[in-house]
């Protein structure tokens, strides 16, 4: 069963200063919706509202037909929503690629439980789909920017989500790496029939991949395509 994600009448202020007002964003089942806007317009904040890690001042977040903000177990909802953050902040933490990808399964495996062979198989398949199987034994901090981004995408895939949230997936990448990452995302989105919400400040190429594009400007959202 495929699901939608809707942000309805979202208001956010940060430090008392209004940032977002009356924002309405929707990604229908199996749709790839993009949100573009300049830096500082609240795109990352909006994505955090979408995965329930940031509470807006007003509005509703409907995910998989449930209201995220009033749900009694948001961690359970979050297990079906994979988020790929803009930057990893793990510095030199020693973790191999295979472990970092398997981490996507941790929520579904459950607390104090060990991963099973099935979980290891799902993680390997995610690495294969993102083209990083040959890097599985390497440490994440030894990889290039593009390779680290693929690790984050593989982890999101390993989570077997219904909904995929991507925060600036191609920032700091050169043109060929950017194309490679976006083709990987397109393949993931199609093969797994995901509902995807992606934010980016690079409006010029986003339209090639998205089914619809929202522009975030002056604190509100406008559907452009």
């Amino acid at each position: 069963m495929h699901h939608s994600i809707e942000l309805i009448d979202i208001d956010v202020s940060v430090g008392g200063v209004p940032l977002l007002h009356n924002v309405n964003i929707e990604a229908m089942p199996c749709e790839l919706a993009a949100i573009v806007g300049a830096n500082g317009t609240g795109k990352t904040t909006l994505l955090k509202v979408a995965n329930g890690t940031f509470r807006p001042d007003r509005g509703k977040v409907h995910v998989m037909h449930q209201d995220f903000l009033t749900h009694k177990d948001p961690d359970a909802l979050r297990r079906d929503i994979a988020t790929v953050p803009q930057r990893s902040n793990h510095n030199r933490f020693p973790i191999r690629v295979e472990e970092a990808v398997l981490m996507g399964r941790y929520g579904k495996i459950g607390v104090m439980r060990r991963p099973k062979d099935e979980d290891l198989g799902i993680a390997r398949e995610a690495m294969r789909l993102t083209g990083i199987l040959s890097l599985e034994k390497k440490l994440v901090h030894e990889l290039s920017g593009g390779e680290q981004q693929k690790v984050a995408l593989a982890r999101a895939l390993a989570q077997e989500p219904q909904i995929l949230l991507l925060d600036e997936p191609t920032t700091h990448l050169d043109a060929s790496s950017r194309t490679e990452i976006m083709e990987t995302i397109r393949k993931m989105h199609k093969e797994r029939q995901l509902t995807t919400l992606m934010v980016s400040h690079e409006a010029e190429w986003v339209g090639q991949y998205a089914d619809k594009v929202y522009l975030l400007k002056d604190g509100t959202s406008h559907l452009t395509a």
Binding site: R78, H90, F93, A100, R105, G107, G145, E147
Partner: protein, 248 residues
């Protein structure tokens, strides 16, 4: 082993806050004419339970909150010293520790705490790995990130409190922090980090103690020098054998 938490989550200020909270606990104990060591431990345990949730409620980072507690508890302790006419040297003695004067109850406390920590790390290994790697990732894959973070902070605070009683505040760094710094430079997995930091702590402790007897210098200084030498070796090894990726 616990030093790995401090390094990975950048909780160095917490360790200093615990030292001052222990001092306040000791001051309360002396003021009430009760065991200052026990009160130091109780205050640290209570703080370890409260600091995580408090930093979230006040929206202050744990480092900032630790800074606040460091100064506030020191001020309160000195008020008690003054009002209770307490000998300051007697109060500060709870920070020195004395491994030779440990009672059976102390040993039971240390053993129980050690077993508790090992059990937590074993049972929650993958969850701890996720939190130490990236708290945002841990939250986004659906782990109960806040409760796990509070558990880590509690374990950390409890360890520092018990360690101070055993070896004193000054040596806590030598046994907890420095070995973890060395392990972080050469380990290729979290498991290796835990094992190496424990090994480095053991080697620097025993080696430093033996060297201090051989060359007739204070044991605590020699242990810290031994731990620092291990870090030096790890830096050399890490630079020689590890390649570095470009990163983001």
């Amino acid at each position: 082993m616990i030093g790995v938490f401090i390094i990975s989550l950048n909780l160095v200020p917490l360790r200093f806050a615990m030292m001052h909270i222990a001092l306040l606990g000791g001051a309360v104990g002396l003021f009430l004419k009760l065991d200052p060591m026990l009160f130091g431990l109780l205050f640290c345990t209570a703080a370890a339970l409260a600091l995580g949730p408090l930093s979230d409620k006040t929206k202050m980072g744990l480092g900032t909150l630790s800074g606040l507690f460091m100064t506030l508890t020191l001020a309160l302790a000195f008020i008690l010293f003054y009002k209770g006419q307490i000998n300051v040297l007697q109060a500060f003695s709870i920070l020195w520790g004395n491994i030779l004067s440990l009672t059976l109850w102390d040993l039971v406390t240390v053993a129980a705490t050690s077993l508790f920590i090992i059990a937590v790390v074993f049972l929650f290994f993958k969850e701890i790995q996720a939190i130490l790697y990236d708290r945002e990732v841990a939250l986004s894959v659906g782990l109960p990130e806040k409760r796990l973070y509070y558990l880590i902070v509690f374990v950390l605070g409890l360890t520092i409190a018990v360690s101070m009683r055993l070896i004193g505040a000054l040596l806590v760094d030598a046994f907890v922090l420095l070995p973890a710094i060395g392990a972080n430079l050469v380990a290729r997995s979290l498991k290796q980090m835990f094992l190496l930091s424990s090994l480095f702590g053991f080697v620097s402790g025993i080696g430093g103690l033996c060297l201090s007897v051989a060359v007739d210098v204070p044991a605590s200084s020699m242990i810290i020098l031994a731990a620092s030498a291990i870090i030096g070796v790890c830096m050399f090894y890490g630079r020689r054998y590890h390649t570095h990726g470009k990163g983001f």
